[in-house]
Symmetry: D2
Subunit: 152 residues, 4 copies
């Protein structure tokens, strides 16, 4: 599907959504690229990312899936709008391990009050081969900002 | 509901589920207590936990909700069984901010192959007052271990 | 939790939500009672309600869970507001069979734009004993009506 | 993705999954076609299918999405296995109205104990134009049958 951004500076907005989210930086997630209605991001897995059995923790995958989804919704927001996750569901298809986690988030349906985004999370090995490990659907509410940091 | 643990050392198992999950320690989540079918955990919020608008990031809430759910399912697992999250859904009821996040996870339905747990996440202010900010339901698969670290 | 209805005639509204929904009547679902923030409804199971293995079809359980949730949200809506399901998730805890299906829906969090409701579906046998078979969480959007049938 | 059916008579199995589900027939859902890992089905909308505001009831959409998902999982089941929906989530993207509802269900990830399927529901108008109105993800458990009607 092709979307028309309402904010000509949507790429700066996406960079801001990543730069200002301290938790996302703390976890090690980095923005790879974006376009109207989509965002790609990744994470290099480290020993601090695992759950009790040595797999990437659900929370790492969910943080990646959700933040990429929020940024994908952000590509279609107007300059005076912010988006906030209100409903999130994720299926974990395989235990996740590898060198990186990669995520592509795509808007399924933009909306005036609710935008729906789907995120696919892949485990990536040394050779760059990707395997789908999780799929999420996120509903994000549009918040109208007045005099916010986003709307000068 | 009242449940009968199949592992007499289930409390040691729960402590292990927290101690071995590096991501959970990295985020700052601590175990408060547990019993058959339930776990309580909390997190002191810090500047590194926020999303782009200054609220606790969804990923922080989801990590807390999921890990407490996994440990609650773990209280009812046999010594040679592990549990792994396979489906997760969460409703974010209010933007989350405060001094702490508190979570109570309770088993809704244990099962031979799938256990369902519900987690409530509350924001807690300086005075200790709690406000429900998110609710999750998690489906966890039972994995039969052979010669694992859990089953000596 | 206790809620204050904004529509003094909320009970008439709930009866209307059931009376006007032809699919709900076609399936055989009947309203049992309601109060501010909750609704109870039931269905007598018949041979036409099953899936391929003889259990009550998921669709029967989901129709009951969703419609009761919508009516529960309706108890808290203003006279010029309607509610529409936008997100629905349900865990099927046990195969459902029995003489009736009973559902209680309770508002978890009302909201200006989104209301969250939880529905529990029980199978009921001849003796009246109830067993929880499914649990759902539903997000409903508030729609502001102008000159609708609901707002004279 | 391409899948290898383990049951050479999987098409007969799918026809049976539709023929034996009385609720699906009662609602008016018909099988259109199937292949390894996918099923298509539709429903002609009638006055008996609506909710209180005249749109196709959520329950109609969910019954269609779930049953097509179950049949899609069934295309990959072995002759002595049945599948049962255990987790279901659906996003309603637009109010649904039109002459038909069409659904395509595709297996996202088959599994020994859990299979995940995605279903898209479209409203179809007189001209045959389709508009996506809902998207669901369904987790189905594999049940091993002994001496069942499916396994002679």
């Amino acid at each position: 599907m092709s979307f028309e951004p309402r904010n000509p500076d949507y790429q700066a907005r996406v960079r801001e959504i990543f730069a200002r989210a301290t938790f996302v930086n703390d976890v090690g997630i980095v923005l790879l690229g974006c376009g109207p209605g989509w965002v790609e991001a990744e994470l290099e897995l480290a020993p601090r990312h695992v759950q009790q059995d040595g797999f990437a923790h659900f929370g790492v995958q969910a943080t990646l899936a959700d933040h990429a989804a929020g940024a994908a919704a952000g590509t279609l927001a107007a300059p005076d709008e912010a988006v906030l996750s209100v409903e999130f569901n994720q299926s974990m298809l395989r235990p996740a391990r590898g060198k990186w986690l990669f995520c592509r988030a795509e808007v399924l349906k933009p909306g005036r009050t609710l935008t729906r985004v789907e995120s696919e999370v892949c485990a990536v090995d040394e050779s760059g081969a990707r395997q789908l490990v999780a799929k999420a659907r996120v509903a994000l509410a549009t918040i109208h900002l007045r005099g916010s940091l986003y709307a000068p």
